[in-house]
Amino acid sequence: MSELKKWFELPVGAVIDEPGNAIRYKTGSWRTFKPILDKSKCNDCLICWIYCPDNSIIVQDGKLVGFDYDHCKGCGICAEVCPDKSKAITMVLEYD
């Protein structure tokens, strides 16, 4: 997190005038369960990528390669929508 600003340095009315700056706010620590990928079962249908509310499915060249654990809140939607045939994503406790 960058240095906190003083009250007279802020945009009026708590407006956020820098689109996409939520990337600097790490929400990964909120997680109780984390998604784990078994790549051998994944056919890169990318339904998880469509559903992820936090842009935390990392895709390269059309292939699912992993999760952005800095921002994934562990909601489990990716595991839920992963098709029954494959079940490539499972949610496991963050700390045992």
């Binding site: 906190l4 600003k5 003083k6 009250w7 007279f8 802020l10 945009p11 009026v12 009315g13 708590a14 407006v15 956020i16 005038d17 689109p19």
Partner: protein, 408 residues
């Protein structure tokens, strides 16, 4: 300039016609209904370019106004009593988002018991909501204050919503002589609205109303408090500019016969007019009485109050609402807080609660108040609880209470 016969409501509607807001969202409530009725006619007749949004409640009326204002539009609404109460949640949001919304509020008593007539219970409850509050004594002031309010709200160093109040029915439904400026004079006075942030400016995307936790909420609220301080400094400049186009010079407070006054009676709204009349009568009898009308109630005109009370020997404060459980009514609380710690801290101040639910306040009532203040000046016995004026039973209550041993 032309002279028109307008009620308080019509004066506000006429000002709104000249302001020509981009969006007005409204829900009818007595005694505000006539205002929006008149403005809806202007919309229907094509005299304004306003998008009129008819909503299903006051909560929605102010929500729609907030949305329009955040989008970059000049947006207005108006309400009274229960309507203002239903807006409560959004009042704080409008102020916190720093949206320059101007809203006439036609003062009316709050339920229960249900009552449609004028008192200040509604806006007094909203006095700490972050809105600037300007009280109007008559239709002329309603018209002028509404136009001035646009400039106050939209000033880049202020950016706060403004309530323009008038006493329900007493002003809202009383026809008076009003000097109305030319349309183009008003248009050039208020100017174009060019906010620095607009939701509809898709080339510069912004987020309005994001989650603001322990790390930043307090900083934003501190900045909001500073905006109110800026308003306290800047409203006088806008008033001064308005006097140049209108010839009417408004101040935060309006003193009346105060220079040598030993007894000063403080009031807001229409009652100030009655008080001036009584002061004229009592002056003829040789009583050194004066009045002080508070026009800008939020931000509270602390320096002006101190200045004008510096020669007083005793002060009465007229409160048209009750602050239940507090030591006195809201206006009196503000006056006492202002004088605390100054050389005026020991000035005798008596609170008079009056006129609830539209109960008349007559010149004779005011005369009695001045008489009581005169006795207090001489005897020095200052009642420490509010005095209730014009309510049946108040005079015999102490006697009956002792006879029947009523505990409360």
């Amino acid at each position: 300039m032309k002279i028109m016969a307008l009620t308080g409501n019509e004066a506000a509607a006429e000002a709104m016609r000249q302001i020509n807001p981009d969006v007005v969202a409204a829900y009818p409530i007595t005694p505000q209904t006539e205002l929006m009725h008149k403005f809806a006619e202007f919309v229907a007749d094509g005299l304004v370019d306003t998008e009129m949004v008819l909503v299903e409640s006051e909560h929605s009326a102010l929500s729609a106004t907030v949305g329009a204002s955040a989008a970059g539009a000049r947006a207005m609404t108006a309400t009274s009593a229960q309507g203002l109460a239903l807006m409560w949640e959004i009042l704080y949001i409008a102020a916190g988002l720093r949206l320059p919304i101007v809203m006439p509020v036609i003062n009316r008593a709050l339920s229960a018991p249900i009552n449609i007539h004028g008192d200040h219970s509604d806006t007094m409850g909203a006095r700490d909501s972050g809105w600037i509050q300007i009280f109007s004594e008559n239709s002329q002031e309603v018209y002028d204050n509404t136009i001035i309010a646009i400039r106050i709200a939209e000033h880049p160093d202020i950016l706060l919503p403004v309530m323009i109040t008038m006493d329900g029915f007493i002003i809202s439904h009383t026809m008076e002589r009003v000097e109305v400026l030319d349309d183009d004079v008003v248009k050039s006075f208020i100017g174009e609205y060019n906010p620095s942030y607009k939701l509809l400016d898709i080339k510069n995307p912004i987020t309005v109303g994001p989650l603001d936790l322990q790390d930043y909420y307090f900083e934003h609220k501190r900045a909001q408090a500073e905006a109110m301080e800026n308003a306290y400094k800047l409203i006088k400049e806008i008033d001064e500019e308005y006097s140049k186009i209108s010839g009417r010079r408004y101040k935060y407070v309006e003193p009346y016969e105060i220079d040598d006054a030993e007894i000063v009676l403080i009031s807001l709204g229409s009652t100030a007019g009655t008080i001036k009349e009584v002061i004229d009568e009592l002056r003829l009898k040789g009583m050194k009485v004066g009045g002080l009308k508070i026009r800008v109630y939020r931000p509270f005109p602390r320096e002006e109050i101190k200045e004008f009370l510096s020669n007083a020997l005793v002060v009465g404060v007229m409160d048209r609402s009750i602050a239940f459980g507090a030591t006195c009514g809201p206006v009196c609380l503000d006056i006492k807080a202002t004088l605390q710690g100054t050389k005026l801290s020991n000035l005798p101040i008596v609170d008079y609660i009056y006129g609830l639910g539209g109960r008349d306040i007559t010149p004779r009532d005011i005369e009695k108040i001045f008489g009581e203040l005169e006795r207090i000046k001489i005897l020095g016995e200052v009642p420490n609880l509010p005095r209730y004026i014009g309510v049946r039973g108040e005079e015999d209550y102490p006697e009956i209470r002792s006879k029947f041993k009523i505990k409360n």
